[in-house]
Symmetry: C2
Subunit: 883 residues, 2 copies
């Protein structure tokens, strides 16, 4: 990128400034995303405000020269300002109709921590009067002026913003009003005076009355914001070179409040909620954007504009059509009409609901606007997650009492529980509860586990509650500031209404809505557009997609969602049911191999029955069965509930300091070979029975967990083959099956060559591999230091949700290289939860795995992500649209 | 090896048999170790019995041809048998003085599971009479015959040996005697008849009377033993090719019981206990080796032989001198004199005590027999371990009541504790106890921890007790079969004496001795020879050796043992002392940063004082200080002992499912930066104070534990540098210090490149790296499945004692490559317990580390092992001596 950038700067006669009218070919690297977009629209003949861009090259020089503006830059800016005055017919600082501009940063890649924009630049004591005159609205003019002083003071000169806020509050108190809008033009004029005083106190300087000086200092402030700590951290994390620099856009301000032939609005080229084609938006006659924000007036539906401003409306409709055709994507457009003249202030790819995204993609293909491949590439896999959780019934009528952050998708309802202990107790007793807290801490985990969802008053998308809820797949609305809690009286209050712990609420973690009533929910559902896109996706993906499923019901659900097999069938849940647990416990309590075998023989028919159900549901597809994995103490009650002194002694003996690293997985199989023998017998008998019954032989893959040494697998493979052969011999039948292992320990990755020699397949167990590679106990980390790491940007992503590619992923790469070196035909898959995470699926594609396996509800996401990975490899990605 | 072997076999005229007299150049690959040794001695003119070797090439052909002896082999054997009869003047099956031979296996590498030897081959009904006649000892002749039938039946034909033992016992009962030696010649003659019957019943064949047939079948049996499962497992584990094959040695039997001019004995060229130069041994006139074993007669000191058999003695003395000169190593020699003629039956490098090994090595250098480098190479580092544990005072007089396996080195004494609960209780109360059990299980761990040592009746070197005791560095005598325990009466009995739990015993884990009294112990000590060897070692080693030491006392001890710095100073123990713990707890209980800082400021002077003591003890040497590592709950009491409800809540909140993978190490430093800030302040202040006081500035290395992500270390490095700079600025002084990290997570190895950019040094924490790489919780594994793995050969070595080179070691290699690629000058060390394990030290040398660090008592071992590694690299290894 850097090279490309340098190549674009002529060496001898450097040019730093491009007007929108002549920048169309300068490119994104030099003009930044915003500047390039404005130049592009200008070239298309779309009406945008006049202006110019100070290029990133100027910023680079500025930083190189110890924060000195490069030679010649000021002259170039002066020249472009002159042209701007000429084009607009307005003058900086004019007492009648002054030229005002906004100054906006705009790097090639958008980035947090950068200065956003300063509006109304050019206002001074004289121009404010001029603006009052030209708009006929003195209140608006002085409000704009006081905002400029405040923003400029804060952003350019670092004056404490609270001082301005306090002065505003003081003024409102003095006037006996509570809202900004209740202040009069005179109040605001006086406030400008007070703000200028505060500016002088904070900086030791007068607020600059020279618009040219304002512009120069604002330009420097944009350049300086390139190096804020937050921007630096972001660049480091995203490997963006430090010396790209940012551009500065200087744009003519236009005003929609100059009378009945003016106005302002926001619109979309399609309905962002449903995806329905057709212009959709809102507008206000004789108003500025701030009016909408301040809530003084309610905007009108856009179609009414055709009556009020017919010419501008027609021009707008035409522009929207051209923009969508040009960008071949649904656009989100801001516009202003100043005295009949339409200005497009901004266009960008429009945000939309998952449902809309699907419909738009499908319809654009039908319209011939985009290809199927592009349609697939444009769906955000993560967004589809919304459709795969319970949602509020679309037919339900309700009013949201408050809104918070949409911190973890899905909707949930239940009675209010104000602390974790009561949430746990009531949840365990079978009551549906929503945990409602000021914020959650690791101490609240037990309550979170039992709650249907969580609602907090404080904290953002990476707050403890948000991170933990996403980890658990529970709906969460966080940072709902309308919520307050009085624990002494045990009431919560939301938007003025008090709730006791008897009250029912519903939360929508997809929208952030909090509803103080019992609203109907619908289970996850896939509509026709979704099916269409997924069908297209299946045609292009290379990765197979399987599901993790332990029961015939899950297996059936997985098939429905398009799973092509089971990548992980855990067998331990089969021992937990009421009719099985006593036998399992008898097995664990056995005083020797013989007693153990007796108990196991009771369990065998149950196992066989379960396997038969799963094989039938997955008829003809591969099914990977993992032999018993968890430590045995998980099948015994807690110590206090031991049924006998012997059981208490056994529980004590089985207690481990770190069960995650203890006697589990294949270690159990080597200590008690009779357990795995029973399981293999049950698998083979079930396969024979299903084949006989249905004629469809299941493709059985027997998987040994937690192998670290080839010798472990060599012995267990031998046990498996011996047991299976004996069964088949006795039945006088043949059946195909594979024997393989989970790769879930760093040692297994390192010695994948030796282990591959004993295995027909590997399945990367990235949950445990993440735990061991990073030394993060998931139980402890997600509720503890990991939440802190995510909140404080030590880590970008939760490594249990999105695969840690440079750590865990690098070990996987090593494992694959070493395994394929000795056994090129080895089958490779992944069955950790990462198998359903879109970013991780793309990585698995790049690694060359044969399949991913994930929970049934994530199968559609994985199908889409796998297709996107294949397309991305072929160069088809979501089109980059300026904004 | 295979290639070399094939090259030695002429392709057209294959020769399979070599007489000792013409095999000197055939080499070890073809003749095996034993055959090559006999041929070598023959060539030196040393009197050995006549005989020949059937080469490994014959074995290879045999296996290739589906267990058919190769063509021409029988003819060659016949020819050599003829020559043997000629040379000895005796004939196979002769009724006067028959030729008898032994048949012994002998591969190039000695290996468990192979057939050992069959003696007295050639005996049949006629020859037994002949042997009786020629030795004048019918009892001996028939005892030899019945042993042949038994051994041949068992080894060649797989007859159940218990059947022979039962028949022997029956005969003794019938005769009313208890010892074999009380049976008469007639008894034994009858027993031969009974044994031949048993042979017939077991095989359906008569015992072969033709010596030639006996020899052929014994040869096949040796060949077949190459493929016993145990031998196959051993070869797989040691990467010995399966197609090397074994040789077969056929050696003339000689008899020391042919009259007063005959005899037998065993001798050493130096005293194996003390190392003193001079012949040392025992002999018996008119006796066979079996007489010594059976304990009928007590052997005489060797020097008396000069009076009884002066010519043979002189010849023996001369031979011993020549053997030691030839092999340049202390020899352990078996000899027989038959009618005045000396035969050396075997010579091999003699086993010796650690003290003797050192003296012999030093004196051989003084005698000019070997070089200093060879002396160093020959000391077994592991054996020296004996000298580094408490030992029984050499001046103490005592009698061992029983002997068991020397399972874990060192001596210990204490009162008997018959179960783990009482051992724990009494040990905690301050009593010295020895845990005495039939065997131990994981349930006994709490007792093992509190005992001084452990004694078991059952189990071998890899039994639970042995493995766990070695892990804990506690003395252990295992498998002491003279021990029985009656838990109901709460008494143990050893060799007929009853012990209550009041009785004191002493165990010597180095010798296996069990002594039923209180014997004086001496602390570990290093003698002059040891110092001499270590001095030489220091001259050749490349690796530096540091110690892990947390206190000034440990630091002083480490210096004494030759440590060149501290590689790991843990700071957590400093918070455990009575005067510090309350402040530490206050810090943990603090309700915010301010309270936490207040508690930390109380701890600072203590930390500073500790560091000053350590810096002074290590004057001028580098000291690596690890900042706080363990999870905070380790500083709080158990939940039941919480001092307040708040503390109980905190304990609950800090409880983790897997503390090993939880909130510890640098994660604490990022959650509570003020803790590390305080520690860095204490370190810098201590360094300044010590420099001011002594003029010697310590070389401080500040180490951040458990780093997995470069970003963690980047932030903590910044904190460290900022804190240190502030301290130095305030003191207006300068001091050099490094900032680095432990590498103890697989992710840190994989991303060592990024982490190296933030680090001046790496120290591999192989304890935790082993836990995470293998997924073995040390607490759980060593007492649990790992013991099972070691007992059942799933693993060869305990990976917590000897570094898992192909797993953990491979990750270390990767880390070093990646780190040095970005920072070639980075300092690299190891501070896990492997730093004191000789095999692991050699691996660290090969990895190119700068230093190893281990517990003070292991420093001498590490110095020696480091020298041996350097010598081995230069091609100097302990001389391979046949045996």
């Amino acid at each position: 990128m850097e090279g490309a950038l340098r190549a674009k700067i002529p060496r001898l006669m450097t040019r730093y400034v491009y007007s929108f009218a002549d920048g169309a070919d300068a490119g994104r690297e030099l003009l930044g995303g915003k500047g390039a977009g404005l130049a592009e629209m200008t070239a298309l003949g779309i009406p945008v405000p006049t202006g110019f861009t100070v290029s990133t090259a100027a910023c680079v020089e500025y930083m190189k020269n110890g924060r000195e503006l490069p030679e010649g830059l000021e002259e170039e800016i002066d020249e472009h300002l002159g042209r701007l005055e000429e084009a607009t017919g307005k003058r900086f600082g004019d007492s009648d109709d002054p030229l005002l501009v906004s100054v906006r940063s705009g790097a090639a890649v958008s980035m947090p921590g950068m200065m956003d924009s300063i509006l109304n630049l050019g206002l001074n004591d004289v121009a404010a009067e001029g603006l009052a005159r030209s708009t006929g609205n003195a209140r608006f003019a002085y409000d704009a002026y006081r905002r400029l002083v405040q923003m400029y003071g804060e952003v350019v000169d670092g004056v404490d913003p609270h001082r301005f806020e306090d002065a505003l509050d003081e003024r409102k108190r003095a006037r006996g009003v509570s809202q900004d809008v209740d202040l009069s033009a005179d109040d605001l004029r006086e406030l400008v005076g007070r703000f200028k005083e505060l500016y002088r106190e904070g900086t030791g300087r007068e607020f600059a009355q020279d618009p040219r000086a304002q512009l120069e200092r604002a330009t420097r402030a944009v350049f300086d914001s390139w190096n804020t700590p937050r921007a630096q951290v972001y660049r480091r994390a995203n490997e963006i070179p430090d010396d790209l620099g940012t551009a500065v856009n200087v744009v003519q301000m236009v005003f929609g409040n100059k009378g009945e032939d003016s106005g302002t609005g926001v619109c979309f080229t399609r309905d962002p909620s449903t995806g329905e084609a057709g212009i959709w938006g809102e507008f206000l006659v004789n108003a500025q954007g701030e009016d909408v924000v301040a809530g003084i007036r309610t905007p009108e539906p856009l179609d009414r504009m055709s009556g009020r401003l017919p010419e501008a409306y027609e021009q707008l409709a035409d522009t929207l059509r051209r923009l969508e055709e040009h960008y071949r994507e649904m656009q989100d457009v801001e516009f202003t009409v100043e005295e009949g003249q339409l200005y497009i202030l901004q266009t960008r790819s429009g945000k939309r609901t998952a449902v809309a995204a699907l419909r738009i993609a499908v319809e654009m293909v039908e319209e011939g606007l985009i290809s199927r491949e592009e349609a697939i590439a444009r769906i955000e896999a993560a967004q589809l997650d919304q459709l795969l959780h319970p949602m509020i019934d679309p037919r339900a009528e309700y009013e949201a009492a408050a809104k918070g952050l949409n911190a973890s998708p899905g909707a949930a309802k239940g009675r209010v529980a104000l602390d974790a202990d009561s949430a746990e107790e009531r949840g365990k007793a079978g009551e549906d509860v929503i945990l409602v807290r000021r914020e959650t801490t690791p101490d609240d985990i037990h309550g979170l586990i039992q709650a249907r969802g969580v609602l907090t008053a404080h904290g953002g998308m990476t707050s403890h509650a948000a991170v933990v809820a996403r980890g658990m797949g529970k709906p969460c609305v966080a940072g709902c500031e309308a919520l307050s809690i009085d624990l002494e009286r045990r009431v919560a209050s939301i938007g003025g209404r008090e709730l006791t712990e008897e009250d029912m609420i519903t939360i929508d973690g997809g929208s952030g809505d909090v509803i103080l009533e019992d609203v109907d929910l619908v289970p996850p559902q896939i509509n026709e557009d979704f099916e269409t896109i997924l069908g297209w996706a299946d045609d292009v993906r290379r990765l197979k997609v399987r599901a993790n499923a332990d029961t015939p019901e899950d297996a059936a659900k997985a098939r429905e969602f398009g799973a092509e097999g089971i990548g992980l069938c855990r067998t331990e849940h089969m021992f937990m049911a009421e009719d099985r647990l006593p036998h399992m416990r008898a097995m664990i309590m056995a005083r020797g191999e013989e007693e153990r075998r007796a108990a196991l023989s009771e369990l065998l028919p149950f196992q066989q029955e379960d396997f038969e159900g799963i094989f039938e549901a997955m008829a003809g597809c591969p099914v990977t069965i993992r032999l018993l994995d968890p430590p045995l103490h998980e099948f015994l009650p807690p110590l206090e509930e031991a049924e006998s002194p012997e059981m208490a002694a056994r529980i004590r003996a089985l207690t481990e300091a770190n069960p995650m690293l203890g006697t589990r997985g294949c270690r159990l199989g080597l200590l008690f070979p009779e357990i795995y023998t029973m399981q293999v017998q049950a698998i083979i008998r079930a396969a024979l029975a299903v084949e006989e019954r249905t004629g469809d032989a299941p493709l059985v893959e027997i998987m040994h967990p937690l192998v670290g040494f080839a010798e472990e697998l060599r012995r267990l493979r031998e046990l498996t083959l011996d047991t299976a052969s004996a069964e088949l011999e006795q039945a006088e039948r043949e059946i195909e099956y594979l024997v393989g292992t989970m790769i879930e320990l760093p040692r297994a990755c390192v010695r994948a060559d030796e282990i591959a020699a004993q295995a027909d397949f590997f399945s990367f167990g990235t949950n445990d591999l993440t735990q061991t590679t990073l030394g993060f106990s998931r139980d402890d980390a997600e509720a503890g230091f990991l939440a802190h790491y995510l909140e404080n940007d030590v880590l970008e992503d939760n490594p249990f949700a999105t695969l840690d590619q440079s750590g865990v992923g690098d070990l996987m790469k090593l494992a694959i290289e070493r395994a394929r070196a000795v056994k090129p035909e080895i089958k490779l898959g992944i069955c950790g939860e990462h198998g359903g995470d879109p970013k991780s699926v793309a990585f698995c594609h790049a690694l060359g795995l044969d399949y991913v396996s994930c929970s049934p509800y994530r199968v559609p996401l994985a199908r889409l992500a796998a297709a996107q990975a294949a397309l991305s490899e072929a160069g088809v990605t979501a089109a980059a649209v300026g904004g």
